[in-house]
Each structure stands twice: as structure tokens, then as C-alpha cells.
Point group: C2
Chain length 317, copies 2
């Protein structure tokens, strides 16, 4: 379900590194060449290019990209070029900083990555920041937000398909009871959504829907929309249940916004292109009656537009 288009015959990484070095030279940077290479290589290939670049020129490709590029194009190229684990670590770190603080980015990372990928992000965090990821998240959050985010970001969920139907019924009833009481920060709600496997949660949410008359998301929508914690809880459940719907909505709101929210648009494209962007594109088309390609093309421009479109699979490799 990756939207990435990799050429049938991929050049040697040293050759790619050399082309990138050339793209930086002379008057003005050759952005098209950068896109042509980096937007059409998978994570393992990009890693080899970085290694080859360092070996051939004794320089860090990321630093050179950082100094040669600017603005939104710079951000999408840098995020994309990082390995998925480094990128997640970077995004979460950024989300704990005052000016870029975002409980949403922390929640999204926690709930939409595989257990192994989330753990690799925690390892990458140690390596880069000399601290633990949960240490920074806990320090920079408080109250109900911390209570929800810490178990989500430290989870190592079981990923098998096994489902315990008795437990699903029992926990659907607990969720329904707490939600009816508007006890959204209840520790049992947090325990269930932060520890159960996604397969188990799916059974629990199905039972909720079948026996309590509404989808759990709808019951959580009923309440005050100004409650930031409630919105975050609802989004976490959406991420665990149907991540493509969650990401479709983030993209829709980012694009609809006056002036476009490049921060969200860049993050979603860079983190999902190699994962489930095809499903997100389907969902986007279904929900908005316009393809994501066209929506992005209408709202962005220049190299930034070209890079985003390449990553979501527009055109050829």
C-alpha cells in the first residue's frame, strides 16, 4: 500500500550520491534532480545513499540538504530522507518543544506505528537525544494528556490475530459505561486502549457498535467539541481502528485550511508514503470527490508540490 515509485533498475548508491553532490553545485541547486533521486528510493536505498555520500565526500547528506534547500521543500526532503525510526524520533522530539508542541503528533506516532517501529523510534531517540522518548514526553505534558500519552507511546502491543471475544464483550461494556458517565479520563478507558492489541480492540469496538447502538467514535463526538483531551482520545481511537480515516481527515483539514497547513501535510506525506498512502488516497477520494493528487496540486506549488506529488505516486519513477 506504499505509494512510492521506485525505478525497475535502481542506480548504484554511489552514483546517486554523486548526482546529489552535483545537484548542489554551481549557481543554484538542481531541485528536480534531488526529487528525481530521493523521492524514488525506499528507506533502505536512501540509507545506502547517505552512507555512500558520507564515504565519498566525508559530509552528511542531511546537513547539505539542510543548507541547500529552504522552506517547505526543505522540510519534506529532510523528513523523507531520514530513516523511519529517526524521523519518528525527530517528530516526537519536535512535538515536545515549546514552539512546536503537539499532543497530536505524539498520539499519532504512538497509535499508527507497528510495535517494532515504535520501539525503533525509542531506540533512535536514545541515540540522537541522549534521553528517552518517554522522559521528554512525560516532562513536557501534564494532567490527563500525560495520563493518556505515556502509556500510548511506551506500548509494545501484541500484534497477533488472536481475539478473546469474552474479554472484548467485557471491555466494550466498560468503555460504554465510562463514556456514558462522561468519565473520559477514567483509568480503565486508558488501560484498554493503550494495552490491547489492535485486533483485540477491533473486536471490542465492534461489540460496542453492535450492542450499544452507536460506534464508539460517535458516542465520543456527542460531547463538547472544545474539550481538547476528548478530541485527542477520539483521535487515538480512530488511529487504532482505521488509521487511513484519521490521516484522510488530517489531510482534508490541512488542505482546506486558509493557506494550507504545510506542517501537517508534509508530516503525513513523509510518514505514510512508504506505509499506507494508497489506502489514504482511496479514502481521500471517496470522502472529498477529488483525488489527493489534484487537491495537493491545487493548494501547493513549485518544488514542494513536485516532491509531495512524487511521494504520493504521481507520475513515473
Amino acid at each position: 500500500m506504499s505509494s512510492l515509485k521506485v525505478p525497475a533498475s535502481v542506480p548504484d548508491p554511489y552514483e546517486d550520491a554523486e548526482q546529489l553532490k552535483k545537484a548542489f553545485k554551481g549557481w543554484g541547486t538542481n531541485e528536480d534532480l534531488i526529487i528525481q533521486i530521493l523521492a524514488h528510493r525506499n528507506a533502505a536505498q536512501r540509507k545506502l545513499i547517505r552512507d555512500s555520500y558520507a564515504a565519498a565526500y566525508g559530509e552528511d547528506l542531511l546537513k547539505d540538504l539542510d543548507s541547500e534547500l529552504s522552506s517547505d521543500f526543505q522540510r519534506v526532503v529532510l523528513l523523507w530522507t531520514l530513516s523511519p525510526a529517526e524521523r519518528d524520533a525527530y517528530l516526537v522530539n519536535e512535538a515536545t518543544k515549546r514552539l512546536t508542541a503537539s499532543n497530536w503528533v505524539i498520539m499519532e506516532t504512538a497509535c499508527t506505528r507497528s510495535s517494532d517501529d515504535l520501539f525503533k523510534a525509542r531506540q533512535a531517540y536514545h541515540a540522537r537525544y541522549k534521553k528517552s522518548l518517554e522522559e521528554d514526553v512525560a516532562y513536557h505534558t501534564s494532567g490527563d494528556f500525560r495520563k493518556l500519552l505515556i502509556p500510548l507511546i511506551t506500548a509494545f502491543r501484541y500484534e497477533g490475530d488472536e481475539v478473546n471475544m469474552t474479554l472484548a464483550r467485557k471491555e466494550a461494556n466498560i468503555l460504554h459505561e465510562k463514556i456514558s458517565d462522561k468519565a473520559y479520563n477514567d483509568e480503565e478507558i486508558i488501560r484498554i486502549i493503550s494495552t490491547r492489541s489492535k485486533a483485540q480492540l477491533s473486536a471490542t469496538f465492534n461489540h460496542y457498535n453492535d450492542h450499544h447502538g452507536h460506534e464508539i467514535i460517535k458516542d465520543l463526538e456527542a460531547d463538547d467539541d472544545d474539550d481538547e483531551y476528548l478530541k485527542l482520545l477520539r483521535a487515538a481511537i480512530e488511529c487504532l481502528k482505521t488509521p487511513e480515516k484519521y490521516f484522510e481527515k488530517v489531510l482534508r483539514l490541512a488542505i482546506k485550511k486558509l493557506g494550507t497547513d504545510e506542517w501537517d501535510l508534509t508530516r503525513v506525506v513523509a510518514t505514510r508514503a512508504e506505509v499506507d498512502m494508497e489506502r489514504i488516497k482511496e479514502e481521500y477520494h471517496r470522502r472529498n470527490s477529488v483525488t489527493l493528487d489534484r487537491a495537493i496540486a491545487a493548494d501547493t506549488s513549485g518544488d514542494y508540490e513536485k516532491m509531495l506529488l512524487a511521494l504520493i505516486g504521481h507520475g513515473d519513477a
Copy 2:
């Protein structure tokens, strides 16, 4: 600091497997032979013996040990033969079962393993129980105990030596303030002890001692000794600060107890022999004016005694 004695020349694992098979044959089991082999092989060597046993006889060494041995000797041999990660997963699982429930075992595992080892236990838990470790711990605990145990058991602490002294001062003051208010379950206490690196915590506890007149442990002891949560919190801090002192105390109480607490004795010996048993022995001698070898020899007997003594390094390999 391992107390394990491995012979200078270790036999081929197939030979060890064959000897073990022989030990199970005929009238009565040859317990001495089992001890002679298993109590003198490190984790990697025991793994090879299990693999060789399975390859040679199509049987699981652990199952054969389980059916051939009994009582306390059986438990120590089985726990010891497991890999450290499987053993930790097994102990935590047991600690979530009604009849063997123990918040202490969960806390001890969370606070005395390295970050990697704790994570490997979580991986082993997936493999063996088809669930996540934190899922079972969260389900079988509640209230303040859950609030403390979940962040401890899901932590992936940074393990570098870097210390932020400003932060240490700040957090020592937070700890002192909360402890003075007897707010032992305060979320800031839990955040600090469950997320900071052991090096950082050490600096924080030193500052606490230097600027607030007492060791943090002493301030926590001042209060009611019937508060089980407070005792667990104090033990967690002891585990993070000076694990050898924590284990010395567990052993001392286990041995002093009328009839000896084999459950604790077995667990501590099986889990620490290959890690820091030499330091625990020193601490035990210092605190009790008798060596751990002599104390164990006086309080246990038979094959169980022999196995424990072999694991703590008594006699030759």
C-alpha cells in the same frame, strides 16, 4: 560480577545434552549430574544445550526437567535453564496470576534489568503468552499500584552517563516537596522515577540527601509501615539506586523467615547469579556478618541446597 563458575574447557553442547538425557534414565534421576552441567554453563551455553537436546532427541529439555524433578529443586533448575528474557517473562506472568500475584516481582523486574533486557522480556512475553506484558500487568493491578507499575515496566530508560545537574536539583526538590506532603502517589514522583536514567536519578537522590538532610529512602521509611504502596515505592527507589542492597534485603528476609521463603530465594539466585551476585554476596556478608553461602547452607538442604550453592559460586566448576 557474575557468581557463575564455568569450566575452562566447556564440553560440546551435544555432549552436555547426552549427559542430561542419561541423568534422566534408569532408576531415579542423577541430580548431581544435572547440577554439574547446568549450574556451570552461561546463558548462551544453556541455549545451545537446549537446542542440541531438541535436535538430538526431538524433545524439550525444559519439559523433561519438569517431569523428572520436583519441588524447590525443580523450580530453581527450570528458572535457571530458561533464557534471561524468557525467565523474566515467566516471572512477570506468574506475578499477575491470582495465587502467585506479586507487585514486588513486577517492580523488581522493571527496576533492576537493563533497558535492553527489559525490552527482551517484553518480546519474549509476546512469543510465549500471545499478549503484551503490560497488558497483563495493567489488567491484574489497579489504583496506585497500576499507576506506579505500568510506567516502570514499560520504561526504556536512557543508559548513558550524562547527567543534567540543574534538572537533578529541580527534581530532588519536587521529590522532597511531595514526600513532605505525604503525596506518595503524586504523578510527578512517578514520572521522575519511571522515566529518568539511572545516572540522572543517582544525581537527583544525591542532591536530595545533600540538601534535605536525609536519604530519600529514610524519608519514605518515616511513615506508616503498613502502607503497601509506600513500601513498593521505597523498594523501587532502592532497586534503581542500589540493587545489591535491595536483593540483600530480600535474601535476608527470605532466609530469616520461619521455614525460609524458597520462592524469593530461588528467584533472586536464578535471576542474579549471572548478573551481580558477587556484589549481593559482599553486601550480604557486610550486613549479616555471615556469608550468603553459609546462610543458605544452614537453611536449605539436599539438591536444592547444592544447586543454589553452585549458582552463587561455591566450590569448583
